[in-house]
Amino acid sequence: MSDVYDRVKRIVVERLGVEEAEVTNEANFKDDLGADSLDVVELVMELEDEFDLEISDEDAEKITTVGEVVNYIQSHA
């Protein structure tokens, strides 16, 4: 659990240039972390590589917060 969360957090911090403390479970990529739609696409691409899984466009569109990403990865990895 914490492992996935830490890895997601590291990628989000690097990709979006935000502070670690901001990357909470509830943090919304667009509203709280300042990501634009392309940032989210890139984030999804990087997570796919990191966790060696494919996130479909349909699923990717539903993911809006850090917690949702972590849940998605835990249930699909």
Binding site: L38, V41, E42, M45
Partner: protein, 250 residues
Amino acid sequence: MAQWDLTGKTALVTGASRGIGRAIAIALAEAGADVAVNYAGSEAAAAETAKAIVALGRRAILVQANVGKAAEFDAMVQTTLESFGKLDILVNNAGITRDNLIMRMKEEEFDAVIETNLKGVFNGIKAVTRPMMKQRAGRIINISSVVGVLGNAGQANYVAAKAGVIGLTKSAARELSSRGITVNAVAPGFIETDMTDKLSPELREGMLKDIPLGRMGKPEEIASAVLYLASDAAAYMTGQTIHVDGGMYM
């Protein structure tokens, strides 16, 4: 001209078996790029293009695909990435014609041209977006046509597709600019190729009157504009259409 040097770059050129596509593939190789040569049906002609590239001391691979089919374009980009390790330049050149007056044009004729000439460009842009975004760099060059801005009787399908390519180029340029990817178009006028060889002598005569420079263009004269857009010399240019048509459109 170090700015025009493409050493270490890799390119994919669609419709590179003949005509303008072949000239583009060879021009990029002359500037130092390795080139994936796409063809739909003319394998022997595509092999000739590849041979010319290898003779220049560059790597070339042959990749068959109907650009109008997204899955085929995706597979072609994968093959290119596996062979070259990266993809820096995409030239969407593949095109077909099915000329007819609107009242005689069959639905299939309209659809076939839109599928290859317009959707094929979309498929290409979409297929390379992921690798180019990861690289944070990339050059996409789409081949439009002078008739895309002037219109042409008997070519409603072709003109609609080529005008569409200009709008598609601008949208893609806006979407991808923040990732270091530029998207531009080149709009050739009447160029000496198999495609224009099919035109009747009367039509050719009529066309020459409308060309201020008084002659048809050569494939190499389109290739040099593409080379410019692919090179560092054009780093500050995106969403543009360069008209290389002897002055037909001005």
